[in-house]
């Protein structure tokens, strides 16, 4: 996975609350099986009319925000279904960082798994970032957002920070560091709950 260190980019403001994963990536596109083709359906039903016409007013289509890698949004972003396709649509569109007032829990976990930095900020900071009109710098090492002359600190669990900084993948980490613990756990559980280990029939 690509490490996340410092990201400097214009921001894409989608200043709405409760943008759910059905809006980020409508369910009918879940039939697609290639991640790379999902970006064109990011916010599909809000960006395009039913006949395919581009809705120019939608921020995702707004040329002022073209090339933005930082999404700035409201409360509960990514609530709803667990579809990781919502994150893949977002990354395949080019977004690497989400700054929201709050985040859907499964969506936030899926971001971490895909090297996307997803963090929260108070509503007034969200507003300030959206209105800044110039690129913003997100520094994961320093845990700060640099916007013009203002610096906003952000919180992130140390383990998440380390994973993102190094671009680590879960399976590698677990099997490299936790293999013995895992085997010990299984040996103990097999004694206590044998029915979970195939011994469920007489």
């Amino acid at each position: 996975m690509t490490p996340f260190t410092i990201l400097r980019s214009p921001v894409l403001p989608v200043l709405e609350d409760r943008v759910d994963t059905d809006v980020i990536f409508p369910a009918r596109f879940l039939l697609l099986m290639q991640r790379g083709e999902m970006g064109r359906y990011f916010f599909a039903d809000q960006r395009f009319a039913s006949d395919g016409t581009v809705i120019a007013e939608h921020p995702v289509n707004d040329p002022r925000y073209a090339g933005a890698k930082i999404l700035v949004t409201g409360a509960d972003f990514g609530c709803g279904s667990s579809r990781e396709q919502a994150v893949w649509a977002m990354t395949s569109f080019g977004i690497r960082c989400v700054i929201a007032e709050s985040l859907g829990e499964i969506f936030a976990a899926n971001c971490l798994r895909n090297g996307v930095l997803a963090i929260t900020q108070p509503r007034k900071v969200i507003g300030a970032l959206a209105e800044l009109g110039e690129p913003v710098e997100v520094d994961l090492e320093a845990q700060e957002i640099r916007a013009g002359t203002v610096i906003y600190p952000f919180a992130i669990p140390p383990a998440h920070r380390e994973r993102l900084l190094n671009g680590w993948d879960d399976i590698d980490l677990i099997l490299a560091n936790e293999g013995d613990h895992l085997a010990t756990f299984e040996a103990r559980q097999r004694l206590l709950q044998p029915w979970l280990y195939g011994a469920h029939h007489d």
Binding site: V23, M33, S50, A75, G80, I106, H201, D202
Partner: protein, 468 residues
């Protein structure tokens, strides 16, 4: 030191390693797979050359993309057919059990897991679907995950998880006839908001919960995610254990008794302290319906649509305006004056035999309104067979409902079961988001009995008046 909650006990008993920062590496006992959320998991596993650590702990079944009009033969949508055959091949390549579309055990993951006794008290269960909270009804720690996590569970049988805070939701009282678990869930979310349980693991308790069937408990736990919680649980009791006795994947004979003895120890201790507590008196509750595009836009059916001027804050007022516009309704309108075009009875929330019996009781001897098209989609093939054995299919068909094959159908609208733009649906599913049931489709969430009543009258209506 105070006692431990059910959640504490489930969490503690699955810790492989505690990282000391609120996160732990948690063992995953069981994993359900469906076609739409797992293909990329297998792509990643193949790329890294990983195998399944314990193939016997997984169960795969197609449900999301499957057609419900016909069963057997070729699937007409090539993308759906490809996704389903990919699940079959992926399962075979990695040695995981796979239930075929035409198998009698097929159905929605959250219906068949319990039916097969794959879901058990005391376990951790993960699935690439947010409504995995359903399985918490058995006193399991069950949660939805994304595709990358599905791959991790297959290869390493564990996940790094953040421990949630605990939330007690107490339901007390005796509900009126025709008021049940779906109304409880909508009332809770309607009264406390979609974020009320965010960051928390819910435990539902109270005398109303103790009286509920397993199906009703599953409905309640299912919609925990709509309240913002990833996990919703009910401690196992006699109702739970009797439900599981003799099911194919459940422990048998002496192992069952041994398991029950263990499961009994998992209930929250009498002196356990929850981080937060919410109560609901279900005795005074009316049937609930949603009017807007968030599950929290829920009101008793006799109510009127609220005015954005009365919204609690500016953001919510803006959202209400947008919701009214999207839904094609106006502030002050009586909910019962809202006409509908479609009815959907089914889903992992309300597709079980108990749900279909209630809907059939309303439909019996009545006719679906002339302008309404209504479908009943059993949550599993077993539910379908049971309903047919009880004659429910005849009742629905004679009343003018279509009787379908099992699948997620119009809850997720990935197959041809979807709303046309502007159409309005009385739906027993779990989400009324914009576009959820089809682009520009309008969804009103309610119980199966309420949806059947709406089908007959052609508009939202209090089921208690229909069958009085």
């Amino acid at each position: 030191m105070s006692g431990r909650t059910l959640y504490d006990k489930l969490w503690d008993s699955h810790i492989i390693r505690d990282f000391g920062d609120g996160t732990a590496l948690l063992y995953v006992d069981r994993h359900l797979l469906q076609e739409t959320s797992t293909h990329q998991s297998f792509v990643a596993l193949r790329e890294s050359g990983r195998a399944a650590r314990r193939p016997e702990t997984h169960l795969a079944v197609p449900d999301h993309a499957v057609p419900t009009v016909t069963r057997g033969g070729t699937i007409s949508d090539p993308l759906a057919a490809a996704q389903i055959s990919a699940l079959q091949k992926n399962s075979a390549d990695f040695g995981l059990s796979y239930i075929d579309l035409e198998d009698e055990r097929q159905g929605i993951v959250h219906v068949i897991g319990p039916e097969q006794g794959f879901t058990l008290p005391g376990i951790t269960l993960a699935c690439g679907d947010s409504h995995t909270s359903t399985h918490g009804a058995f006193g399991a720690l069950a949660f939805g995950i994304g595709a990358t996590d599905c791959a991790t569970v297959i290869a390493a049988q564990c996940l790094v998880q953040q421990k949630s805070k605990s939330l007690e939701v107490r339901l007390d009282g005796t509900p009126q006839k025709w008021v049940g678990a779906k109304d409880f869930a909508l009332a809770l979310i309607g009264q406390h908001g979609v974020g009320f349980a965010a960051g928390h693991a819910i435990e539902y308790r109270g005398n109303a919960v103790e009286q509920m069937s397993m199906a009703a408990r599953m409905t309640l736990c299912n919609m925990s995610i709509e309240g913002g919680a990833r996990v919703g649980m009910i401690a196992g009791d006699e109702v739970t254990f009797e439900y599981l006795r003799g099911r194919p994947y459940a422990p048998q004979g002496e192992y069952f008794d041994e398991a029950v003895a263990y499961w009994r120890t998992l209930a929250s201790d009498a002196d356990a302290v929850f981080d937060k507590s919410v109560t609901l008196d279900v005795g005074s509750l009316a049937p609930y319906v949603t009017w807007g595009t968030s599950p929290q836009d829920a009101l008793p059916v006799f109510d009127r649509i609220p005015h954005p001027d009365d919204a609690p804050n500016e953001g919510e007022a803006r959202r209400w305006h947008r919701a009214l516009d999207y839904m094609g309704i106006h502030a002050g309108q009586a909910l019962e004056d809202i006409s509908i075009d479609r009815v959907f009875i089914g889903s992992c929330t309300n597709g079980r035999i108990e749900d279909l019996r209630l809907a059939a009781e309303v439909a019996a001897g009545r006719r679906v309104a002339a302008n309404v098209s209504a479908i009943v989609v059993p949550g599993s093939t077993s539910v379908k067979r049971q309903a047919e054995a009880e004659g429910l299919d005849r009742i629905f068909i004679e009343a003018g409902f279509e009787w379908r094959h099992s699948g997620c159908s119009m809850c997720v609208a990935m197959n041809s079961d979807r709303l046309e733009p502007g159409q309005r649906c009385a739906s027993t599913s779990n989400r009324n988001f914009e576009g959820r049931q089809g682009r520009n489709g309008r969804t009103h969430l309610m119980s199966p009995a309420m949806a059947a009543a709406a089908a007959i009258h052609g508009h939202l209506v209090d089921v208690r008046e229909v069958v009085a």
